[in-house]
Amino acid sequence: MSRDTCCQIPSPGTADGEPAVSPPFSCSPTKGIGPCQGTVLSTEGFTQPFQVALAGNPNVGKSVVFNALTGARVDVSNFPGTTVGIAKGHLVGYPTVRLEDTPGVFGLSALSEEETVAEAALTAADIVINVVSAPTLNRDLFLTQQLIDWGYRLLVVVNQLDEAQASGVTLDLSALESRLGVPVVGCVATKNQGLDRLIQRLPEACTGTSTPDLPEASALRPMELDPGHRLKTYAARRYYINQWIRQVMPPASVGGQGTHASLGAKLRQGTGQALLHPLWGALALIVVLLTLYQVIGVWVAGDIVDFLENDLLLKTLIPWMQQGIALFAPVGSWLYILLAGEFGLATMTTQYLLGVMAPLVFGFYLYLSLLEDCGYLPRLAVLADAALTRVGLNGRAIIPMVLGLGCVTMATISTRVLTSQRERTIANALLAITIPCSAQLGVIMGMVALIGGLKAWLVYMGFLVAVFAGLGSVLNAILPGKSSGLVLDLPPLRWPQPTNVLKKTWQRGSGFLWEAAPLFLLGAAIVSIAQLSGLLEWVQTALAPVTQTVLHLPKQAASAFLMGMVRRDFGLAGFYQLQSHLTATQLMTSMIVITLFVPCIASATVLWKERGWREGAGVLTLSWLIAFGVGAVATRLLEWTGF
């Protein structure tokens, strides 16, 4: 590969236009700058089972490469920390080659859970594909060099070459290959360019040129895991990279883009700066929230749900279902009540899951995917840092919180991106108790539209923010230790990629339906059986002191709480059904209480798995106390103010 062509974007399929070539490297047992070292895996290796792990800094496109190589659908977003576990697959066309996608890390010194997880996967692999980002190559090479120093057999993929070009950054990949002593391949993974070349050169992966003056890999590893020693080796590695990096990439202007940045790149940089400005950033956030309300609360919850639920389901499909069920179960019989009664398994599940939840959840995920893909969330993290520091977190926690607005279960897993156990305890408690998921938000927005629109929305949000701040402050005060500060790289803003956005929306939305449908059926069955057996009446009477005296709600509200123990959105659906019997104050109280109520079964299970039974039980108990305590205060406050 010539120096002139090595930094250009390869064309699809043929990488840089060159025909398939045999490995150009010779095996050399000696160390030093130059050709690849170590034993080269022969192309026959593809017939033997072997394991490949993808490693790299956060947000360099590892998951895009993984998806392209395996045909899998791992979540891809424009923010660091999208991958928190290990994704597994096989190289397309080569079932013997197993691939693992590891979480993005800046180094391998077990400074976080992600680093421990990544290191374990890399140690088990025969070959490591190190994905680096062309625009931030200087930073990414620290991990590359560490992987070489630790003795991994490596192939380096320089991704996002198009972004580097747009920013006016040119790279000399052959110089990089010569310096590292391992094969280097350029690619634009999102456009599927250069990946064929990657597969061709995979057998060439080998150990590279180590940092001079550092010990051998076996001695270096324990040294870098020791906080007392790692600073010295880190500094030596950085110094070594700095000595030759300018041969690979020319110096860029520090404050801005490269000298030949395109107009689009300059515009994106300007927009990125504006989003970090206290005034413009706050205005942008208000626009994002108002747009969310307009799209989900008005168009989806209003127009689309109205059409689907009322015109399509209640007037057409559900009467047909009831008639069909009546053919084998007489109206009024226990089977008819179970399947098509007030809480009927067939009718109520269809009505709420397809008529209400599905459009709201898909709508919300579409909006969230757009925000994720364009790179807005890390900038929101910067603006939110000061506020989140007061509740014992840092700006990085905004990402699980925003993901929680989609699905709390998924967000609970994503709290692994937080550095300390203390932060994870606080974040999980706040997520489980104060963050409504997309299904809940959808129903809430529909109910809000019934009782006063934007004013009701602000009242509801005001209570949630107050509980969030209060609970977070208390936990921050009573939990031992101190939380870490924000360290976050900000990816460049990008136009959302329609295919990625739509695929992700579909994947998450359909995932929700698969997860929720059995739980909805279970909830409907429990309530219907309780109704048939008279247990529901007994529960309603037993809970009357709470529902009627404490919360000033009718005693039928107990049914909704019972349903809410399966899924909170299911409980809300119960209140949605009772709406004609409730005043505006009662509807607002019920929305607040059920939001703060126990997390759904799936979230609770993940919480117990991630944080242990003690913390899980603590959060559940706390959620009951807070839900009914805040509900009691809210209802009196709303009555007093004449809401």
């Binding site: 931030t136 200087n138 404050g255 801005g256």
Partner: protein
């Protein structure tokens, strides 16, 4: 002068990093003593956003006082 107090958009060089933990973090981002950086944003009571080598990094307020810099010019 530290990153906490230097005016925004001033091109500066890192003179010293006085805390080992901060030094470690910055080394992994490709930054160390002698490197040129620009602070592009610093929301009230919030983090500072440093720009260097095509990279933007947000660093929490508690780390800023450990990064001593020397001003060169406006970027």
């Amino acid at each position: 002068m530290t990153i906490e107090t230097i005016p925004l958009h001033t091109l500066c060089h890192i003179r010293a990093i006085t805390d080992p933990e901060v030094q470690l973090v910055l080394l992994r981002f490709g930054l160390g003593e002698g490197d040129a950086v620009v602070v592009t944003a610093r929301p009230h009571s919030g983090p500072a956003v440093l720009k260097a080598n095509q990279l933007e990094v947000a660093l929490g307020r508690q780390y800023l006082r450990f990064i001593e810099v020397e001003a060169r010019s406006f970027a």
